[in-house]
Amino acid sequence: MVRIEFLGPIAKESVEMEATNLKEVANRLSDESEIKEWLQICAVAVNDTLVSSLDTPLKSGDRVSLLPPVCGG
């Protein structure tokens, strides 16, 4: 199981799912209408490290975080 976390303004509780890479996570999340619009604009981190490819492998226990557009300061 991997855990998907939705950070900042995304009003959604964390979910757990079976997945061996990020593409599987993307496929599952794209079915959820409430989250779909966020997928286009969010960065993705695996265990707090930003990743840039859907081929990123996942193993059980990994945390996947969705980071919406930021504005500190």
């Binding site: 950070l7 900042g8 303004p9 990020l22 593409k23 996570v25 993307a26 496929n27 999340l29 794209s30 779909k36 997928l39 286009q40 604009i41 969010c42 960065a43 993705v44 981190a45 707090d48 490290t49 930003l50 990743v51 840039s52 490819s53 859907l54 975080s65 969705l66 980071l67 919406p68 557009p69 930021v70 504005c71 500190g72 300061g73």
Partner: protein, 148 residues
């Protein structure tokens, strides 16, 4: 050093303490940037969410880069609500020479805006509204939206 506070920063305390902490370390330049909430758009204030584990990593990378240039970076940021005319952000560089400090504070503040994992909300009419149109997607955003 990264310092996170609930609500507004005590700017005089932080600026003074950082100055005194580094006073004997032979830095010729101290260059703090202070960000204050402006009264605009009818807001009562701003509010911030921070994802602290990644902000800590983000900041550590900057500390390492500063160290390679013989410099030190420090940062303080607010969590939660910060009202109009209060301050939410201080970034500072100490360096031996002025040129490094001026270049570094500029790069730090700009990259902070573009990639530090912090989310901003307007406080307006009792609501807390994500400042989406003023926010910047982190480089590489959107990969989860690539599949049909």
């Amino acid at each position: 050093m990264l310092e996170l506070y609930e609500n507004a920063l005590d700017v005089p305390e932080i600026l003074s303490r950082w100055y005194r902490d580094e006073a004997q370390n032979n830095y010729g330049a101290y260059l703090p940037f202070v960000g204050t909430v402006r009264d605009e758009g009818g807001i009562e204030g701003l509010s911030f969410d921070i994802y602290e584990p990644m902000l800590e990593r983000w900041f550590q990378r900057w500390q390492a880069q500063a160290k390679r240039e013989g410099a030190v970076v420090k940062m303080a940021h607010s969590k939660g609500d910060v009202m109009v005319h209060e301050s939410s952000y201080i970034a500072a560089v100490f360096s031996p020479k002025r040129r490094v400090a001026l270049t570094l504070i500029n790069a730090f503040v700009e990259e902070f805006k573009a990639s530090a994992p912090i989310w901003k909300y307007d406080l307006k009419n009792g609501a807390r509204i994500y400042a989406k149109e003023r926010s910047t997607p982190i480089a590489g955003s959107g990969i989860l939206g690539e599949t049909p």
